[in-house]
Symmetry: C2
Subunit: 297 residues, 2 copies
């Protein structure tokens, strides 16, 4: 079936990922252990908290500590108490002047390596390469988005819901006042009453959606939102599919939702996903269209 697609991805992984990746590492390292070079790079001219570095590089706490000591001994980095947080345990790493010089050198070499890829190509081929790279990057990002249940009280869920409110307030003709809209309580989006799904990219929240499982009534989809940074990549559609699946698996055979006339892409997506417009089933202040879909079990 899609075996030629798979073959293409594998060829890409081998020739591009392996070869370019290895070369990039070589350029980065310049005599120093690669882990140290990466850490130095990640600290950056602005410095960084140790916990953040651990997260970004995915390193063991002890290992990171040792790497920081090594860079300190080389006079490239100083580790001291964090100034921003009131937490005395948190420490930040910052570059010394020598470290900043080294960082700039890494930056320069990274530019040089990128240029060594572009340089042999004629201008039109360069443009095509960069465009294709951007496309691959965007679509790989899309494929790395993970959708999973999350309590609506979670700070990442809160972030999404705030972003949702901000976005619709900007889009709706008459703004958006949550007090005038039909309320949705947290406990309605927690199993078994419903579920809140969070879309994350490298643990950063980039989208959400929820479904209320009304007893003796169709399930109701709410709060579908996707961050600008990953829009146009099918994340909304995946979210919708997951919400429908959740409802279907628990025995509901119909989902419905309401939406505002200004959300034209969303409306197009609902139609494309098999929703058909129905009569109003609620008195939502901001709703202009109501949709329904029969779920196949």
């Amino acid at each position: 079936m899609s075996h030629d697609l798979i073959a293409a991805v594998r060829r890409f992984n081998r020739t591009v990922t392996q070869r370019v990746g290895a070369l990039d590492d070589e350029y980065m390292a310049r005599g120093r252990p690669l882990a140290q070079a990466r850490l130095l790079w990640e600290i950056g001219p602005g410095g960084a908290e140790v916990a953040a570095l651990r997260g970004r590089l995915g390193l063991d706490s002890g290992y990171l500590s040792r790497l920081l000591r090594a860079l300190e001994n080389d006079g490239l980095v100083t580790v001291g108490p964090a100034d921003g947080t009131g937490d005395g345990r948190v420490r930040t790493a910052a570059l010394t002047p020598a470290g900043r010089t080294e960082w700039a050198e890494l930056d320069r070499r990274s530019d040089e390596f990128a240029w060594s890829i572009l340089e042999p190509l004629a201008a039109p081929h360069r443009q095509r390469l960069v465009a294709a790279m951007a496309e691959v990057e965007r679509l790989l990002v899309a494929s790395m988005v993970v959708i999973a249940p999350c309590p609506p009280s979670d700070p990442r869920a809160r972030t999404c819901l705030r972003a949702y409110a901000r976005d619709v307030a900007r889009r709706f003709d008459d703004g958006f006042d949550p007090a005038l809209s039909n309320p949705v309580r947290d406990d309605e989006l927690v199993p078994p009453a419903g579920v809140f799904l969070l879309a994350t990219l490298n643990a950063e929240p980039v989208g959400c959606g929820a479904v209320k499982l009304h007893p003796d009534a169709p399930a109701e989809i709410k709060r579908v939102w996707v961050a600008d940074s990953v829009r146009g990549l099918g994340i909304g559609r995946r979210m919708l599919d997951e919400l429908e699946r959740y409802a279907a698996e628990r025995g509901w055979d119909t989902v419905r939702l309401d939406t505002n006339r200004t959300l034209t892409e969303a409306i197009a997506m609902y139609r494309a996903a098999g929703y058909r417009e129905i009569e109003p089933y609620n008195t939502e202040r901001y709703a202009d269209h109501w949709f329904e879909k029969r779920l196949v079990p």
Copy 2:
């Protein structure tokens, strides 16, 4: 100037190359040291000569030997004398039945990983991703082609010249008999009389071109050929540029060449490169068009 191009390449290197590369390695390794897994994979069901493996993987001779011993101890590989070559020193590695099973498992996991990238995407996005990956791959391949002088007696040069003769014999309306064509002796393509340039991709020959530096006459470009596998990527144009540069640096201010009417892409390339058609300057049996270009020093 092209700093946004460079930035795009760097972003690609970071997000795609690093992340996908690391994941691919993880999938490949499955408990075994990565170097062993890669070696096992590279040997393949058909087996491979030890020297070839060393070249492909870029490993130290001693290190490779040790890796082979480890795989042999695990019962996955047997190393024995080569059968093809008459050289008793050369040895080949081959997979045992257990090794073949393991290889198939690696193959399966590689498919699985590729699919894990495609799976979250909707069909149209999958198509776009694969197309963009293919484009990146092709253009990166183009950028990895190296053009350098090479004696025309080198076996790689011979390979190219044979391929050139084969290609034109297929294209020309009345075939191609080297005996009827104006001869080009090897010593005419060796400095200071001229030069032969070879284009290689990972040490494999993929193109060639030559220039004769006639005393008291324009330099003459001959034998420009590019392998099918890398056609359409600007390699021919780069070859032409290099040949012109070679002549210009040695004091020639004009280059010329002859070509056959069936080689339409080549003719288009010459025109695009600033060549203009001139009267015949020789009696080459297979030439229909003659071109000339003034070189700017």
